[in-house]
């Protein structure tokens, strides 16, 4: 059972337009959400995160929105640039009360930004 779902395996947008990547989750115990960006043959790099007590977090061109009632979050990239082309992973953490920090990842969405 996949607890974090990214239903769009790929997305293609024009340079300068908005990219919207979606993520749904099923576990209501998740309390922290993160987005990672991954280029081929490299490890994922952290992009932006949001706590479950917030509904929006913004960092430059990147904004993450969280809708807890719908168990849905989205990453907006505005304006999109060709260098943004990568696989984007949505990840979620469940607070287990200990020192561990396991993340559950979605399958990723390949974003292609066309010049």
């Amino acid at each position: 059972d996949q607890q974090v779902k990214q239903n769009s395996p790929s997305l293609s947008v024009q340079e300068g337009r908005i990219s919207i990547l979606n993520c749904d989750y099923t576990n209501s115990m998740f309390d922290y959400f993160l987005w990672y960006k991954k280029y081929p043959a490299e490890g994922p790099t952290f992009l932006i995160s949001i706590s479950s007590i917030k509904d929006k977090n913004e960092d430059g061109r990147f904004t993450v929105f969280l809708n807890k009632s719908a168990k849905h979050l989205s990453l907006h990239i505005v304006p999109s640039q060709p260098g943004d082309s990568a696989v984007y992973f949505c990840a979620a953490r469940q607070d287990s009360g200990g020192s561990n920090y396991k993340l559950t990842f979605g399958k990723g969405t390949l974003l292609t930004v066309n010049p």
């Binding site: 043959a41 399958k107 990723g108």
Partner: protein, 111 residues
């Protein structure tokens, strides 16, 4: 600064051969360490995590094992590789205040 090293970058191994992937971190102590795998067409799956020396937790039953012989060293092993072990293996570490950082990964192809 904190860094994480993973090697080798690529590996081609025959079915039935052993495996040893190593991950080391620098610039920190007592980190939580993780092994993830990205199989073709799939997301990142957590395989093992360790909160300290000699402490290993397995997330999914599989043909692999992990060990943490030193505070900043995390090793992924197999006695006999299967074709299904092919994938992109990522080591990661987490520490409060620094977040969750991934290594550059190892592309394993079992032939």
């Amino acid at each position: 600064s904190q860094t994480i090293h993973q090697w080798p970058a690529t590996l081609v191994q025959p079915v039935g051969s052993p495996l040893s992937l190593e991950c080391t971190v620098e610039g920190t102590s007592n980190p939580n360490l993780y092994w993830y795998r990205q199989a073709a067409g799939r997301g990142l799956q957590l395989l093992f995590y360790s909160v300290g020396i000699g402490q290993i937790s397995s997330e999914v039953p599989q043909n692999l094992s992990a060990s943490r012989p030193q505070d900043r060293q995390f090793i992924l092993s197999s006695k006999k590789l299967l074709l299904s072990d092919s994938g992109f293996y990522l080591c990661a570490w987490f520490m409060w205040g620094f977040g969750y950082t991934f290594g550059s990964g190892t592309r394993l192809t079992v032939v």
